[in-house]
Amino acid sequence: MKRRDFLKTVTGVAAGALVPAPAIFSSAKADARSETLLIVSEGGPNNLDIHGIGTNVPGYEVSWNCYDRLITHEMKSGPGGVPYYDRDKFKGELADDMKIDDMSVTFKLKKNAKFHDGAPVTSKDVKWSLDRAVSVGGFPTFQMSAGSLTKPEQFVIVDDSTLRVDFAKKDRLTVPDLAVIVPCIVNSELVKKNASEKDPWGLEYTKQQTAGSGAYKLTKWTAGTEVIMERNDDWVGGPLPKIKRVIWRMVPQAGNRRALLERGDADISYELPFKDFQELKAAGKLNIVSLPFSNGIQYIGMNVTKPPFDNPKVREAMAYAIPYQKIMDVVLFGLANPMFGASADKPTEVAWPQPTKYSTDMAKAKALLAEAGYANGFETTISFDLNFAGVNEPLCVLVQESLGQIGIKTTINKIPGANWRTELNKKEMPLYTNVFSGWLDYPEYFFYWCYHGNNSVFNTMSYKSPEMDKLIDGARNAASTGDKATYDTDVKGFVDLAFKDIPRIPLYQPFVNVAMQKNISGYQYWFHRRLDYRALVKA
């Protein structure tokens, strides 16, 4: 008898508890909801410190919001009226004042700047942080060198609140390089306390904790599940943000992210498939922002050291055989800027990216191929990065189909994301698709990494042309001395040469797509394309 009664009560209790919590929140929770931002994305950070080994792109978002830099960019009005970072105008974040001299730039720090633990920000911290950036190796050091910031000797403490950065050589990219995510200012005393002999820069400590002075500080990080950040009410780098708490949850399923947005349970998401973005845009219940990647292009690359791609006529034939418009429609649903099909009489501009004059012309492709001596076509493989299979796979299938029409038999080679960098470094793949975009939005920056004979990892085509090098070097020198005439000629020159030799075929300028609830405003486009929580407002 007793057992039966017990079972009955347990079932009763369980049935009662199975009724899910009602959607009516208590008043306390209702307040919390309006001051908290819930972001959902597919992947999260693997390291909270951009100076760490192998920090992934989501980690950059935490660094951007929880750390300050000396300077940052002003905002201007971008496409569609969306606030866009102004590449040429800077303002102080931790620095009150910036004085640029001939071969140096001096920063005066804000007097009341404090780290999250209350310690004041001094020029000692700034020097330690910049030294760290140029010394740890890997991606951060590489990025600093893009602006000719390479040696700790370049960072000089003038006094407690003044720091001078000496130029190694005249380079127009030095000051902009100080506004990117990498030269963030770290709480040197706190990190040094947690460093060790094996780990002098304290990278193990900053991997799990933030030690900055930024607008947000880390409350909790569960790798692969969520990141929770809270506003730093003593922030001096800019106007106090409106959002008090940011919860960033990792939701692997794209369909679920869309469901969460449509039901209003999540505030912001990006990384949804293009088809979903189009449908959400059409439905009109959410705020969809679509903006082009600054200085970014998805392209088809050909290794110019591997026949038949060493023959410029073959490359030209390939450029006419790509099904450009089909890719725009079927793969991207129109969410990109075409980088092809410019009219034949359009003058070359001093800008990047800009479209080529190629368009799909199978007859011309066949003729060029015959001229090159491959009237019967040839066989090759096209490779792509599986990490972006959503775009890359249909793109490669369309290219394969189109190339088949002129006799080029292509096999598709899918490369897992973990191997993609290795394969690109090897420079063995004859044909592949890839995307590159630079944080510093200058044509000579893009060309220096992608077309210069110094054969950097981004010159995936192994392209070497003395004429090209002369034009790129000329443009960089002209930029540093302010010689506009030479700069313009050289930029137009290298763009024309890139399109004539066509070692890489530009396809389109990708878009960054963000979906937000209607009551979220203040989204800003930054060169790193991640979210800046400091300007967001939830009505």
């Binding site: 199975l18 899910p20 919590a21 192998g54 890997g138 990025q143 949850r249 960098r421 470094n425």
Partner: protein
């Protein structure tokens, strides 16, 4: 009893050693260079080599293996490269999440499948027998992520009955202090009833998905086993003696039919524990399956090895428990074995 346990554990050790060696070699044989992956998008060859040295991947394979086994002996499963956390800590945090989900799914499955199997066995050829066959076949033939997505679509997106598939708890509740790691138990211990409600409502859909998938083996095995027992002599005697049908089925037939069902249960449990990766992906569940898969995709060796080892150890322990349970249920096994 203790000698039996001791002997079983001793026999398990060679298989565990084999598992360690095989996973080590397999993960190293995977194509994919973690050094290049972690050096990041802008790395030069020198930067990649720098990372490779830092990660200790440039040493010969034998030396890497001995370092690994030495660490294992000290309970150090290594560090995950993707999340940067020690693997042992992560597995310890994530295992209860998967275990809670799998156990609940199994319980729901048992509650439906065993009665269904018993009923189908006692009324062979009737509509309930056909219902059993159809439901179980449908449940096992639909891919588990498909079932999960359909449930999310119907019950969350359309009807709004289920809460958002955002993991184990609603975003605004904080997790209870970890005692067992099972939220259902810990929230009750901490007397946090709102969190208990949230935890159980978040569990319903994923547990149902798993249950639908595992109905088939349990129901069919129960039915087959019951059919065999119901045809035996002692059941005929019991019926002839005038015992009520209920007593015959539950007290006499079912207890004798349980042995194969228990075996099936243990197999289903260990299968579900590893295979609930897809459910974890669909419901954003912070479990051990999705952890291992993400590590595998980024050629991150340590978590994969840790996961395989943990699963192997759990399987050994589970088999041990099942063997002991056999002895409890059927004394003949204990005496003859």
């Amino acid at each position: 009893m203790l000698t039996m346990i001791g002997k079983r554990l001793m026999f398990a050790i060679p298989s565990l050693i084999g598992v360690v060696i095989v996973t080590f070699l397999l993960t190293r044989a995977l194509p994919g260079d973690p050094a290049a992956y972690f050096a990041g998008p802008a790395a030069t060859k020198e930067a990649v080599e720098q990372i490779r040295k830092k990660l200790g991947l440039d040493k010969p394979l034998i030396e890497q293996f001995f370092r690994y086994t030495n660490d294992l002996a000290h309970g150090d499963f290594g560090n995950s490269l993707t999340t940067g956390q020690p693997v042992a800590a992560e597995i310890r945090n994530r295992l209860p999440a998967s275990a809670e989900l799998t156990l609940l799914g199994l319980v729901v499955s048992i509650v439906i499948a065993i009665p269904l199997g018993v009923l189908a066995a006692t009324r062979p050829g009737s509509w309930i027998d056909h219902l059993c066959r159809i439901t179980t076949t449908a449940g096992v033939s639909l891919p588990v992520f498909f079932t999960g997505l359909v449930l999310v679509y119907v019950f969350y997106f359309r009807l709004g009955w289920s809460p958002a598939p955002l993991g184990r708890l609603d975003v605004f509740y904080s997790a209870p202090t970890t005692i067992t790691g099972f939220y259902l138990i810990d929230t009750l211990i901490a007397r946090d009833f709102e969190a208990f409600r949230s935890a159980i409502s978040q569990l319903i859909l994923p547990a149902t998905t798993l249950a639908i998938f595992s109905l088939a083996p349990i129901a069919r095995m129960t039915r087959a086993s019951m059919l065999a027992v119901l045809a035996s002599d002692f059941v005929r005697t019991a019926r002839a003696s005038g015992l009520s049908p209920g007593t015959v089925i539950v007290t006499y037939a079912f207890r004798n039919a349980m042995l194969p069902v228990i075996t099936t249960l243990s197999m289903v449990f260990s299968f579900l524990l590893g295979a609930n990766v897809l459910v974890e992906k669909v419901f954003a569940w912070p479990g051990i399956g999705s952890y291992a898969v993400e590590a595998l995709i980024s050629s991150d060796f340590a978590p994969v090895q840790g996961f395989v080892l943990t699963m192997a150890v759990m399987y050994v322990l589970l088999n041990l428990v099942i063997d002991i349970l056999y002895g409890v249920i059927d004394p003949r096994v204990r005496l003859e074995g």
